[in-house]
Symmetry: C2
Subunit: 136 residues, 2 copies
DNA sequence: GAAATAACTTGCAAATAGCAAGCTATCAAT
DNA sequence: ATTGATAGCTTGCTATTTGCAAGTTATTTC
């Protein structure tokens, strides 16, 4: 679906559906890199999850690797492009916390209000560290 | 669709589809408040647009008013809840600009990198002013 | 009063999502 | 080495959602 020249529209063509950002939340924030780990988080059907992972790989947002410790497993690791989405996820936590009934991670929302940049830097370094460990 | 207690999931239940955030972009950033103005921006079908506006009204994210200057027109004005989404839209502009082919509003993306808070404050005050003028 | 315009509404075809049950490769245990 | 379990992925079918085109109604303009 080709829409406008607006970067928001272009971004939403890649990540603007009901599941993609939740998958990226699992990868970027929960460090759930394996298919079954992601599938367990929310009730996403396996064919839909597969489709979303394939699209994200095709777009260069995540990379598919065989887990060297267990070759049945595939691990889906975020690229820099995905890591740059952390600010969006953080903003959504704050908005969801303030404007919906869900109060799952209120501490994060509070920390963001105090020092947003620090929270984002922290989340970024944690996921980078975790990804590096998986690749090693 | 009831998903988890995660505020990201709750937020995406409200705004996580292919069109809703584009509609909010038109309202919050382009100050397009009328049905036909929004419908013209991207090729959204009128029944889909109607459905999204109805949902946003039901969720308290926007309000429906009859335009006092032309009573055929309905104007959909953002509430505070919608205005709090401006950071999300700004982050999407930055990400889309850096990670997709769309380079529509590169100036905004650059300004955000220099002083994000200032850009957000500016966009907020502009939409508040514009909404107040419409209500008056 | 007639034509135009804005906001919806409806009917139907095409695309997408979701469920359940497969299949294949690898691993762990006997 | 065979057996059973597990991980990733695929397939078939149904239900929901989307998208297009052509209405309908209220209001405005000429």
């Amino acid at each position: 679906m080709k829409r406008s020249e607006c970067p928001i529209a272009a971004a939403l063509d890649l990540i603007g559906d009901r599941w993609t950002l939740l998958v990226l939340r699992d990868i970027l924030l929960a460090h759930s890199y394996a298919f079954s780990e992601i599938a367990d988080q929310e009730g996403i059907a396996t064919n839909i999850l597969m489709d979303r992972l394939d699209r994200l790989v095709a777009a260069g947002i995540i990379e598919r690797h065989v887990d060297s410790a267990d070759r049945r497993r595939r691990i889906y690791l975020p690229t820099d492009c995905a890591i740059e989405l952390i600010p969006v996820l953080v903003d959504l936590v704050v908005w969801g916390n303030a404007n919906t009934a869900a109060k799952g991670v209120g501490e994060v929302a509070e920390a963001v209000l105090l020092d947003r940049d620090a929270v984002i830097r922290d989340l970024e370094s944690k996921v980078r560290e975790s990804v590096a460990a998986k690749k090693a």
